[in-house]
Symmetry: C2
Subunit: 218 residues, 2 copies
DNA sequence: ACTAATATTTAGTTTTGTCTAAATATTAGT
DNA sequence: ACTAATATTTAGACAAAACTAAATATTAGT
């Protein structure tokens, strides 16, 4: 697969929410920041290669073969993200762009050894699970912080919005993956939340809360 | 620069033996495993971009700008090779192909942090020097083990005699290409040498020493 | 069911990097 | 200096991946 083909496969995978939904040409175009006509061209080629199922005007989905490729790419992307954060001191809002390039490096040994070097991590710096070599991975049950009952305590495992501004906000407020968060109280007026994180009590807007995923432990 | 352009720049750099010699179209074609006509096309484009000096029928050389790019690529290539050997347990004959891909990843922070992670290495696994961020690097020379001053350390990069008996001897004594060798002391009587190789001190005859090449950073 | 809005595909170009075959320049041998 | 061999460039073509503009299909509103 070429770099371009691989990026399309990943886009179709992500738009299919891991359930291999059929996705529209326009959705892929938006995700890839390209034109719908370019998507049509590429999707025809991927169909010829047996990577996707494509019915004109009806959308596109991955074949079994296509899913395997997608999972392998996701694995590589997330392992590289872990490497960048754990070994090269990148912050979690800097890794995506570089991993987007590194995921295309062709070497099976490279990724096996990287996995080992990192101690076989289960999740990437954004809390997303890393598929095994065989393409299996644990579904993490995530809920956004604003939809759990008061008194719930859990571990921050991910974000919905991973834009640099949001990630920077989290850094500034010392909210990081792996932190234990306790939801204390909801402000009736604006739906904002009081939470306890690492011994300190902070106040976050409902919008912030809705973008933070919690893995509930109790 | 595109991946293709970068590979051409590196080829011209290497053919120029680091002295920026003017090289022929055919030489570049051979190095790149492509056709001379393709080289002509690319060289014209690189000339337009100010990367090379090109006179039709007279050959091509790098401009100052082109040399900077070449050194940056060589730096990246060699740092990745060190990473693969030191951190991911690749052997020295497996790294080139992968480094050939990794050298094209675009991220200044990535390479700075990688350099730091590796402890600012001076040479790659093949004994070749790693240019600094500014493009400076030490020259290396290849000498047979019996003609270097005592106390010299270098990387074993080749053999003069490659007959099975000699190679078997090397195997038996755990001397392999890529090993770092330190010359400790010469025995006056027979010119034999005491050397240190991977934590162990061994004794080799002058004849053995004369058949081993060392790459030394000067 | 008809029409308008939207989504998608088709047709025709462009850029990049490659190739083959033909033309031309350089070099070497006599 | 002439000729033959070799090196290099030019011309024309192609595949990949993108784009714009036009055509067509789908969908939603009345
Ligand atoms: Mn990518
Ligand atoms: Mn991630
Ligand atoms: Mn390369
Ligand atoms: Mn090397």
């Amino acid at each position: 697969m070429t770099l371009s083909e691989e990026d399309y496969i990943k886009a179709i995978y992500h738009l299919g929410k891991g359930e291999n939904l059929t996705v529209s040409t326009n959705a892929v175009a938006e995700q890839m920041d390209t034109k719908p006509s370019s998507v049509t061209d590429m999707v025809k080629k991927l169909s010829d290669k047996g990577v996707v199922n494509y019915k004109p005007y009806k959308g596109v989905s991955l074949t079994g073969y296509g899913q395997k490729i997608a999972l392998s790419l996701v694995r590589k992307h997330r392992l590289w993200e872990v490497f960048l954060v754990e070994k090269l001191d990148f912050s979690w809002d800097e890794v995506h762009e570089v991993a987007e390039q590194l995921e295309h490096i062709k070497s099976e040994k490279l990724i096996d050894q990287l996995d080992k070097h990192l101690g076989y991590p289960q999740v990437d710096p954004h809390g997303d699970p890393i598929p095994s070599k065989k393409g299996e991975f644990k579904k993490t049950i995530k809920k956004s912080l604003n939809e759990v009952p008061m008194g719930t305590s859990g571990i921050c495992v991910g974000v919905k919005d991973s834009s640099p501004p949001f990630l920077k906000f989290l850094d500034k407020n010392k909210i990081a993956l792996g932190d234990t968060i306790l939801v204390l109280e909801k402000e009736e007026f604006d739906g904002s939340l009081y939470i306890r994180i690492k011994e300190s009590k902070i106040h976050i807007s409902n919008q912030i809360a809705s973008n933070l995923y919690l893995k509930i432990t109790a």
